[in-house]
């Protein structure tokens, strides 16, 4: 059914109605409470927060609306709440549990007098009475293009997306045609955000050029890197932006079917996307004859079953076809012959989420952000030992130092930065001396790391780099599909060697084996899981070789992390008489009272869990960690007995 209106006119009707609805909400005389309810917010207790608000609102007879929104990316401050109280600017609050919710209702909503500065981050709008978010480096230095609306709109209400200009890029694309969309994305040099950085436009062009009646576009949401959750946040917080990007890709390629491949471990993302598809179809923004044009697109969600390797596009296609998720040799590339032999374009969630902004603002605008070869922004999930972990969107071309120190507040607890692991298990470990490295696809590759999907783990001086390499190798070798020799057996040997080094059984000649194996795995593996798996090993060997040597030759773990190579003892000098915090927490009863009523550890019983380090009151700070274990000084401790007690 084609309407006589153009797509733009069609959308205008929808958008005006949505804007009206949202404006009504914004200007409502009753307060509105927005609670971040993406997976991360829920994990931090957002549902308890909502329950807290509801109870106290009811108790006090206050009328207010509670709206669920997505994720702002500020993990350190969850649960996050935005309160829009008439007469005040919208205010953002951090770490609001049920108790804090009650206080906010009573002090701010009931009396309207105290906006509870103790929980406040700042105002979303400029205001003379409140600090604004722009007063914080985190907000000031970020450049939110893809995440612009994340955490501010309701992902389960299409109107909130339409009201901020949603689907206008698709309308524009429909008016100007697929070829124009393709040209814009080509000219923007949008590179794939899934890791490899292959230009999205080139993929599209290949598929568009193939004369086949049926083509397919797929959104790859099989995010599996440990510590990475950018895709999940985008799917959960702004699902329609992903759908708009997907529809634009389909338009450019000439596909009439689109799939979202989302891992089953993201149930909320699956639910939200499924709902978003239905909503968009109801408004004729997807489905048959979109916005009255002759372009139709059928979209559905497919759930991946938890294999990391299925993020690799040929394995993803195999799994869609119902086969074992094993990568296939390329060529043929999926853009030429993918699912069922049809041209299949696969793009990452972030790539597709970027497309609408390029269409809306033009390729010149996009190229003005970032660097010449890597235009646009990059989203990182910064985790580990930083002050303000979370999702950060920065323009490409900033340094690692800027990202970790200026934006994320540097290392927690006044410790030293030791290394960052960038690019997840396929990336590399870069030392503090390389923190001036520029973040873009090519610069990171030069130093042995990679952009990857955007995981960034920050590590301090207490992290053992051999253990880090072992951890990531353990992950990739566990996720190897088992098809090709190098990845299946080679990564297992890497892991075995690393494991033996961390327990003090390594041999020096095995360092050469690690290097030889790594190089061969990179050259010989079938797919990029294998081809990148040795990166953590090679980079740690390159930048932290002395740590490997210390483990092997001195049986010493310099970071004092590898358990078989460390021991704990209690320094009698600062240990306080009468305090027995450590005794209570020790799971193996290894801590005893000495003849002078201080504490000591029975090394035979100690399992080196380190609990005593954490519970020892900071004013005493008496538990010491040493490596190798023989470094424990002889303090001449004797257990307290009846005999020496009486002395």
């Amino acid at each position: 059914m084609k309407s006589p209106n153009s797509p733009k006119e069609h959308l205008m009707v929808q958008a005006e109605r949505a804007q009206g609805r949202v404006k009504e909400l914004k200007e409502s005389p009753i307060p509105v409470i927005y609670v971040g309810c993406a997976t991360c917010g829920l994990a931090a207790g957002a549902l308890e927060t909502i329950a807290g608000f509801e109870t106290v609102l009811k108790e006090n007879g206050i009328e207010a609306r509670i709206e669920k929104v997505g994720c702002l990316g500020h993990c350190y401050a969850e649960p996050l709440v935005i309160i829009q109280n008439p007469g005040f600017p919208p205010l953002l609050y951090q770490k609001i549990g049920a108790g804090e919710a009650g206080i906010l209702v009573r002090s701010f909503l009931k009396d309207g007098s105290d906006p509870c500065y103790e929980y406040l981050i700042g105002s979303l709008e400029a205001d003379e009475n409140f600090p604004t978010l722009m007063d914080y480096p985190r907000y000031l230095y970020e450049n939110r293009v893809v995440m612009e609306h994340c955490g501010l709109i309701d992902p389960e209400d299409i109107d909130s997306f339409l009201a901020v200009g949603g689907y206008s890029s698709l309308a524009q694309g429909l008016e100007k045609g697929g070829a124009w969309v393709l040209d814009e994305v080509m000219a923007a040099n949008l590179r794939g955000r899934g890791g490899a950085g292959f230009p999205a436009g080139r993929k599209w062009k290949i598929a568009r050029g193939i004369e086949k009646s049926s083509k397919l576009v797929i959104c790859n949401g099989d995010e599996g890197d440990p510590g990475a959750y950018m895709d999940r946040t985008l799917l959960e917080s702004n699902p329609h932006q992903v759908l708009e990007g997907l529809a634009l890709a389909a338009l450019a390629v000439g596909a009439e079917r689109a799939l979202l491949y989302i891992r089953a471990e993201y149930p909320l993302a699956v639910k939200i996307m499924e709902r978003a598809i239905v909503e968009a179809q109801e408004k004729n923004l997807l489905g048959a004859d979109i916005m009255g044009s002759d372009f139709s697109l059928e979209v559905s969600v497919f759930q991946g079953s938890g294999a990391f390797v299925c993020g690799e596009e040929t394995a993803l296609i195999e799994s869609l076809a119902g086969n074992r998720g094993m990568p296939q040799p390329r060529p043929p590339y999926p853009a030429v012959a993918g699912l069922n032999g049809l041209p299949t374009v696969i793009n990452n969630v972030k790539t597709l989420s970027t497309v609408p902004s390029i269409i809306r603002n033009g390729h010149q605008w996009f190229r003005s952000i970032g660097t010449e070869e890597s235009p646009g922004t990059a989203i990182f999930s910064v985790v580990g030992e930083v002050e303000y972990p979370g999702l950060v969107e920065v323009p490409m071309g900033v340094t690692l130092e800027h990202l970790v120190v200026d934006i994320c507040g540097g290392i927690k607890d006044g410790k030293e930065l030791k290394a960052v692991q960038i690019g997840g298990p396929s990336g590399g470990c870069l030392p503090a001396s390389l923190m001036d490295t520029i973040i873009d696809f090519d610069s990171l590759k030069k130093v042995g790391a990679m952009m990857g999907s955007g995981g960034l783990v920050v590590m301090n001086e207490d992290t053992c780099m051999v253990e880090v390499a072992r951890y990531f190798t353990d992950f990739t070798q566990g996720e190897s599909c088992g098809k090709c020799t190098f990845c299946r057996i080679g990564t297992r040997h890497l892991r075995e060697i690393l494991k033996s080094i961390t327990v003090g059984e390594g041999r020096m000649e095995e360092l050469a084996d690690l290097e030889e194996l790594s190089q061969a795995i990179i050259k010989g593996s079938l797919c990029s899981l294998g081809k990148t798996a040795p990166n953590p090993v090679l980079t740690t060997l390159r930048f932290f070789r002395d740590e490997y040597v210390a483990h092997i030759e001195e049986k010493r773990c310099p970071a004092k992390m590898c358990r078989p190579l460390i021991a704990f003892y209690i320094d009698l000098e600062p240990c306080a008489r009468g305090c027995d915090a450590c005794v209570a927490c020790c799971p193996t009863d290894a801590i005893f009272t000495t003849s002078n009523r201080k504490k000591a550890i029975d090394q035979e019983k100690c399992v080196k869990c380190g609990e005593c380090v954490y519970v020892c009151p900071p004013e005493y700070d008496a538990v010491r960690r040493v490596s190798p274990p023989e470094m424990i000084p002889d303090q001449g401790v004797e257990p307290l007995t009846e005999k020496n007690e009486s002395e």
Binding site: G482, K483, L526
Partner: protein, 232 residues
């Protein structure tokens, strides 16, 4: 047909072959041996999983699996450069590092592809430098009425899975598990009438390059022989 013939150079030897053919079988037919385990003649879609047949091709940055590389006019191939040799030797060492190495009591002794490749690459069948990795499986899997599978000998080439899939009633075996735990899983039991076809087929046992998959009848008479010898 003759106008489809093109010329490629392999290790300075000029070879004429049909355009678009896979490189590995072309080399093998011209007496240029390239080690391989997972390839079978006539495959349309070789899995390229064993990684033993890697070669260097002028113009390519990285080594290429020859089993899947289609030849084109003027292609220049090196099968014996130092780098290729090292890569193959390592792939081979990796394969034997998980193998139980019981050649003398193996049904494939003297006919085993691994033995042939070991000779070609001048590599021992037990690697000293790499630790032996014992895969956590029993020595035999005996559930199928007509087949016996020895997982510790299996190199996971997938030839058996391929030929079985080609048969009309195919797919009585397939890969199961993943990574180092990958295994060929045999469907069928005494109770399952479908597995009766296997008795006369045994195609999978014929393509197995090592002694991992055998006909139960043959295997039983072979073990009886070995035991008799051992008693003597």
């Amino acid at each position: 047909m003759s106008d489809n013939l093109i010329t490629i150079t392999v290790d300075e030897q000029k070879i004429k072959a049909l355009a678009g053919a896979f490189l590995l079988p072309v080399c093998l037919e011209n007496d240029i041996y390239i080690p391989n385990l997972c390839f079978l003649k006539g495959m349309d879609d070789p899995p390229a999983s064993c990684r033993l047949c890697m070669v260097e091709i002028a113009g390519e940055d990285e080594p290429v699996a020859s089993c899947r590389c289609r030849i084109s006019e003027g292609m220049e191939v090196k099968t014996n450069s130092d780098e290729i040799l090292r890569l193959r030797q390592l792939a081979f060492r990796l394969l034997v590092s998980t193998n139980d190495g019981s050649c003398r009591t193996c049904i494939a002794n003297h006919g085993c592809e691994l033995q042939k490749i070991a000779k070609f690459l001048h590599q021992p069948l037990r690697t000293k430098r790499l630790r032996h990795i014992d895969r956590d499986y029993p020595k035999f899997i005996n559930t199928h009425p007509f087949l016996i599978y020895e997982p510790k000998k299996c190199v996971l080439c997938g030839r058996c899975v391929h030929v079985c899939g080609q048969l009309e009633k195919g797919y009585k075996l397939d890969f199961a598990q993943r990574g180092m735990d990958s295994i060929v899983s045999l469907f069928g039991s005494d109770l399952d009438p479908a597995s009766q076809d296997c008795e006369t087929c045994l195609a999978c046992t014929e393509v197995c390059p090592v002694g991992a998959l055998s006909s139960k009848v043959k295997w039983q008479s072979f073990t009886a022989e070995i035991e008799a010898k051992a008693k003597k």
